[in-house]
């Protein structure tokens, strides 16, 4: 074999194997979807969305309280996390100098990389210990802190994408800077920012670890924000590691519902973003 044919052969083999790598990586998603549909679809029923969990030993029942609980946790997390991220993002993009914004940006990136279970410990020491019991409030705080850096960075990115000529136009007309930001720049970037927030919510919606010892779980409805509250991801986890077949079936349904929700939000918002660019 000449040196040239050898090089051609290496080229072909290596390029093919990179293609195989991509194929494997992409097919994982279809495996996940396929398995969840296969196991989850069979047990999917209305009662899953409308009924409370049945006592141990009885089959049937649903996760209605967990679905509502997840909604409650996410809503409060948004109230905690989104204002900080949004306003902070405006600071970074519109008002920042050079040193402090770099510090904030870098801190946000680090905070974004802190494992979610550590956020759970934080909410535990700040809320659960002083209150003396698990609560929706503690769970929301953990999720809210996770939202902050994500919303901050997306807000900043989309504000930076607004052309400077729009700012200059506003300023040239004599408007004060805050007015230009509030009435020209933010509205121009609003679609991107809102979609980014939605993506951030979708990401924390699937978080289990920070809720295990903050909002804990509940097999009944929870009132207000100071009671232990069920959530869909924690319920899936508890049901998956339990020894009952019926609970496993419900875990699959829960997984299917959660994944569909997360993927639908992701696909829709990425499509919106792609179109607006």
């Amino acid at each position: 074999m000449t040196r040239y044919t050898w090089r051609k052969a290496v080229n072909a083999v290596m390029l093919t194997s990179t293609g195989l790598c991509a194929l494997v990586a992409v097919s994982v998603l279809f495996f996940i979807l396929g398995y969840l549909l296969w196991y989850g679809w069979r047990s999917l029923s209305w009662s899953f969305f409308t009924q409370l969990p049945k006592p141990v030993g009885e089959t049937g029942g649903g996760m209605a309280n967990a679905i509502v609980g997840s909604g409650k946790l996410l809503g409060l997390a948004a109230v905690i996390g989104i204002p900080v991220g949004f306003m902070g993002g405006i600071y970074l993009a519109e008002f920042g100098g050079s040193t402090f914004p770099f510090l904030v940006r870098y801190t946000a990136d680090l905070l974004n990389g802190v494992p979610s279970i550590v956020m759970g410990i934080f909410a535990f020491t700040v809320v659960v210990l002083p209150m003396g019991h698990f609560s929706a409030l503690a769970g929301s705080l953990a999720l809210g802190v996770m939202l902050m850096p994500i919303v901050l960075r997306t807000t900043e990115d989309f504000l930076r994408a607004v052309p400077d000529s729009m700012r200059e136009g506003g300023l040239a007309l004599g408007a004060a800077k805050w007015r230009v930001v509030a009435t020209v720049v933010v509205p121009a970037a609003f679609r991107g920012i809102a979609t980014g927030m939605l993506l951030a919510m979708a990401r924390v919606a699937g978080e289990t670890a920070p809720l295990l010892f903050t909002s804990f779980g509940n097999r009944f409805w929870s009132r207000g924000l100071s009671e232990p509250t069920a959530s869909l991801p924690v319920m899936i986890y508890t049901y998956a590691i339990a020894p009952y077949d019926d609970w496993h079936r419900q875990a699959w349904v829960g997984g299917l519902v959660l994944l569909s929700l997360v993927l639908v939000i992701n696909v829709a918002s990425r499509k919106i973003l792609a179109r607006s660019q």
Binding site: T18, L36, Y39, L111, P115, A175, W178, A209, Y237
Partner: protein
């Protein structure tokens, strides 16, 4: 909306000169109020991070004073006797994360090369879209599939095969349970591959086209141009993506908890059940009785926090350096 604001402004200015100037001044001081307001929110991100560290540090005072550095060197975890050593968990976390990287790095970098160098742009964008969706799948779902699909599969086919062909290595010895370091490493690998692919693809795409063209012009094959010119050019960014996924793997909780077996033992065999830092926090936090027990778990949280902060900090710097300058211009 903006036009009405402008009209309001010009209306204010067309009034008596004294009043108009005062109104303008108030509007300008509105700038300062706005500046302070957004600054406070931005600073609170910083404060939350500092508070996070402070709470973890304060919350772990008891075991830090009682065990000191022995905490990291003791392999006994016995809550009843109030003996807490973190070594089995640190070992489990490191072994599973390293195993995950061993599997995920070749796969991820290979796929990134395909997506940036070979695939037509449209096709590549669509595949990347699917791969980034994978990064959005909640970890509890990876755990669910791990328990019911992956572990039985590994136990029935992959592990016996590895033991038969490579059984002389100590890492493949011992009885096969299914739940193990090995299963956790595989699940982690599947979870971090999307991160490696999407960041590596970005940095590979940032390599200037003339680098490729010069190599091809010298007679290099496509693979030689990629492997000897493009990849070295982007290597720091690729390292960044690897560090990023290492940090993810170290802190990943649910999927690992569900497949690692939760047994605080140090075992050379990858087929033995083990435990990880995040998993022990997830499992034992709600049941922990006594201050020392809870605080030992918080100290594990502190370890995890510092570990991921350092690795992430490094990863961000590496990515920053390459996407802005390119490795060749350091």
């Amino acid at each position: 909306m903006s036009s009405s604001a402008v009209i309001a402004d010009s209306a204010a200015r067309s009034g008596p000169p004294g009043r108009g100037a005062a109104f303008l001044r108030r509007l300008r001081s509105g700038d300062q109020i706005a500046h302070v307001l957004v600054l406070v929110f931005a600073a609170s991100i910083f404060l939350v991070t500092v508070l996070l560290f402070f709470e973890l540090f304060k919350g772990s005072a008891l075991p830090r004073h009682k065990f000191g550095f022995l905490f990291f060197a003791t392999r006994v975890w016995d809550p009843v006797a109030e003996q807490f050593g973190a070594l089995p968990f640190i070992y489990g976390t490191l072994v599973t994360s390293v195993l995950a990287l061993v599997i995920a790095v070749p796969l991820g970098v290979g796929a990134a090369i395909f997506l940036s160098e070979l695939a037509p742009p449209r096709f590549s964008d669509n595949l990347t879209f699917v791969i980034e969706l994978l990064a959005a799948v909640p970890s509890v779902i990876y755990g669910l599939l791990g328990i019911f699909v992956l572990v039985p599969l590994l136990r029935a086919y992959v592990m016996p095969f590895l033991q038969k062909s490579l059984g002389f290595l100590p890492i493949f010895k011992g009885p096969i349970y299914g739940v193990s370091f090995f299963a956790a490493g595989v699940v982690l690998a599947i979870m971090v591959v999307p991160y490696i692919i999407s960041v590596s693809r970005e940095v590979l795409l940032a390599v200037p086209a003339d680098q490729r063209e010069a190599a091809l012009g010298l007679g290099a094959t496509r693979w030689e141009a990629t492997w000897q010119v493009v990849v070295p050019y982007a290597r720091i960014g690729i390292f960044g993506s690897i560090f990023l996924s290492l940090a993810r793997a170290l802190g990943e909780t649910m999927a690992v908890t569900m497949v690692i077996g939760n047994d605080p033992k140090i075992n050379a065999s990858l087929f033995a059940p083990g435990y990880s830092i995040a998993a022990v926090i997830a499992n034992e936090f709600t049941e922990a009785t006594g201050d020392l027990y809870v605080q030992a778990l918080i100290e594990l949280g502190l370890v995890l926090f510092l570990l991921t902060i350092v690795i992430n900090g490094l990863a961000r710097l590496l990515i920053l350096v390459t996407t802005q300058k390119g490795t060749a211009h350091e």
